[in-house]
């Protein structure tokens, strides 16, 4: 794949991330369902990692993490590394254990969402800021409502993959 093809491919993926970001940051928070808004950015990282594999998953995860840290309030930096690592892991798991399918994406998304929520819960419990039952009241609906958006995000990135993904441009 030439450098030009590489740039073309990842520009299209970046453009695909834009509607997901707009939904996640500006549209869905205005109309939360039972007070809960879904997290769509980890789903985007999961979808691309499943479709493109570990190497691309690491890079895209890092880009999504950067967007999350810089464009959203209250960032502390950890998400860049976390999503890069998660992208690598999800890409590897889909390459060697799962398939490039919606089910594979759902499982990877569930994993990354659960891990994100568990890390948040652990951090809050560590600083003794709240009770576990209170935190689960936030984490469980968030996990389920976010997971419900996986098919939509998968379809979007699957369509991009079918057009420019893998080595199609080579």
């Amino acid at each position: 794949m030439t450098r030009r093809d590489f740039i073309h491919k990842w520009t299209v993926y970046a453009l695909g991330l834009l509607p997901v970001w707009a939904l996640d940051a500006y549209i869905l928070p205005r109309w939360p369902l039972f007070g809960i808004t879904p997290m769509l950015l980890p789903l985007a990282a999961a979808a691309v990692a499943v479709l493109e594999g570990a190497y691309a998953g690491t890079g895209f995860g890092m880009a999504v993490g950067l967007l999350w840290e810089l464009a959203y309030p209250g960032g502390f930096g950890g998400l860049v590394f976390f999503l890069a690592l998660a992208g690598m892991a999800m890409g590897a798991v889909s390459q060697y254990a799962l398939s490039q399918s919606l089910i594979g994406c759902l499982l990877c998304s569930a994993g990354v969402l659960a891990l994100l929520d568990l890390l948040r819960i652990a951090r809050i419990l560590f600083i003794n800021a709240a009770r576990l039952s209170d935190l689960l009241q936030v984490a469980v609906p968030e996990f389920l409502w976010s997971l419900a958006w996986t098919p939509l995000v998968w379809l979007l990135f699957r369509a991009i993959y079918n057009r420019v993904g893998g080595t199609k441009l080579a």
């Binding site: 940051a25 928070p29 993490g65 936030v138």
Partner: protein, 280 residues
Amino acid sequence: MKDFLRQNGILLLVIALLLSILIGVTSAFLGGQADPLSNVVNVIISPIRGGVSAAADWMEGVYTYVFRYQELEQELTELRGQVGELEDELRQKEEAIRENEQLRELLNLQARRRDFTFEDVRITGRSTSNWESTLTLNKGSSSGIEAGDCVVTETGVLVGVVAETGTNWSTVSTIINTETQMGGIVNRTYSAGVLEGDFALMNQGRLKMNYLPEGAQLVSGDEVLTSGRGEIFPSGLVVGTVEGVFTDPSGQTRYAVVKPAVDLDVLIKVFVIKDFEIIE
């Protein structure tokens, strides 16, 4: 494993780790001021955020007009009735204020006077996470807004406190956010407590008033104001009303659940109190 990592982006992972550390360190050192990278990104996306927010406002307006016209008409009738009652109440209160002034002089108490400096701002973004309740404003440090400034509605109802400022944007930690903590006082009984957000109550749009005095006799509907203790936040800002009083699971302390006087979901324009004075 080594080969796997080499083939699968170990270099990218190292870059990600360095970026994480860079962002983390700059955020920690800058406190309430946004780190330079976040600031640049947010300065760039600020107009986009404003545009999306305006489009969503317009869509909401159309929806309200089409589907809630009758409801609004009924609300208008009720509000007219309430205005009449309030005007009557105001006349009574003016008399009470005059009497109060006389009593203050009699007791040789010095009246407290506060001078607020306001900055009017628009809300261009709302919380994107279920773990916090924040608002994004369309003005920042270039308009003199600083972390710790209080944000109120046009009627003086507290919305939250500025948590972070960038050049042309700032984020507000709302009163129901778990990071918010300030002194509160119940207007009727003068019972003081600490107002703080709670994970279990945040999604219901409520907050807690902790550390209530043992003998505090609060009832549902009691008005809660900011106490202004420590002189970090102005006193007398309306926070909301007591919805219920409960005992902590430990059985040691009681707390009140407070319903904010402001509906955070429908706010569009708010005011930042940039400066205030307490003259004793």
